[in-house]
Subunit: 186 residues, 2 copies
Amino acid sequence: MSLKHGLLGLLNYESMTGYDLDKEFKQTLAYFWQAKASQIYRELDTMEQNGWLTSKRVIQEEKPNKRVYSITEKGKQELLNWLSAYDPVKNSTPFKSAFLMRIFFGGEISKEKTLDLFQALREETVTHVQEMEKIMALFNESDPNIISKPNIVKYWKLTAMSGEMLSRTQLEWIDKSIALLEEYND
Amino acid sequence: MSLKHGLLGLLNYESMTGYDLDKEFKQTLAYFWQAKASQIYRELDTMEQNGWLTSKRVIQEEKPNKRVYSITEKGKQELLNWLSAYDPVKNSTPFKSAFLMRIFFGGEISKEKTLDLFQALREETVTHVQEMEKIMALFNESDPNIISKPNIVKYWKLTAMSGEMLSRTQLEWIDKSIALLEEYND
DNA sequence: ATTTCATATTCAACAAGTTCAATATAATAT
DNA sequence: ATATTATATTGAACTTGTTGAATATGAAAT
């Protein structure tokens, strides 16, 4: 359900095409939500049918024609309701990790193979920490890409802080795990 | 893809029914993977068709009859391949959070409403930290429910450690965010 | 000249996951 | 007596998300 509301949130800042929304998602929301372009276009279609959006075809000469989506009053209401109506049971996103699943059953393969998995994740996590730093830097720029209301950017920074803290903890866990595994004499 | 491998992993410890697997998931793997009973039964069916499992109907008198699943040689091979073949790009589970999505767009609602969201998440997170402690306690028991090979339990503890560390960090982030929000004068 | 990149969207098949209800038995608790 | 809990499974409709290809245009780079 959140992809729809993420799109509503961005379109509430300003009208955009599916292509723009795809880019915005990759730039700013990618840390906590991802979607393929094909899914975004499909959702936009559904949302327009719901009356949350209207769209206009814009003819371009130097580039392919495009369809610009705008949020409606109904869409704004939907967004505001969703933003404040948090139900822990119904609305939380379940945490899933195929990596932890592999580690859970790590006793079935050699210690060396498990260490290889941890090393691969470590590299990925280091990259992720750097990406979070980039996002934080983007939010700290004086003139951010979408809009520059300082009040709005404050909230963006809270989410980036979550990403930074969690990825740093993830790295700590990896290093502790590697150290513990190396101690084991199996 | 991981639900199938989680089921394989548990059936590799011992043969079980779908009902047992559902309970095991809730007890031990729930922190990093969740599945509805109906999905588990459907996956078991598919896995049997793949030749990863065999099943036997067991007639009971005091309880309803049941179907006990056992892992095959082919299933064991599939499990071992999956456990060591980690591809960061293809096999990592994307992190998604509807909560962070709400906070990202928090500038659209009042500070008070956002603080309410944080308080609700705080309570949930405190419960989650306690649940992780319970899981760790279960793994520390001398005679765990499924199997008591010490080598296996070591890996279980690594995953529980991840849960403990991440949920503690989550709590830290919530408290920092609440403090920051209360400072804001908007 | 040709490839690659950026723009811009659509579609179809598939896989994964949720919701919810239905069915059935027996023990236990109020 | 009645309700609840635990055992045990099935099925259908629906939503969500992935994969991958197809189409089209123009600019920039090699």
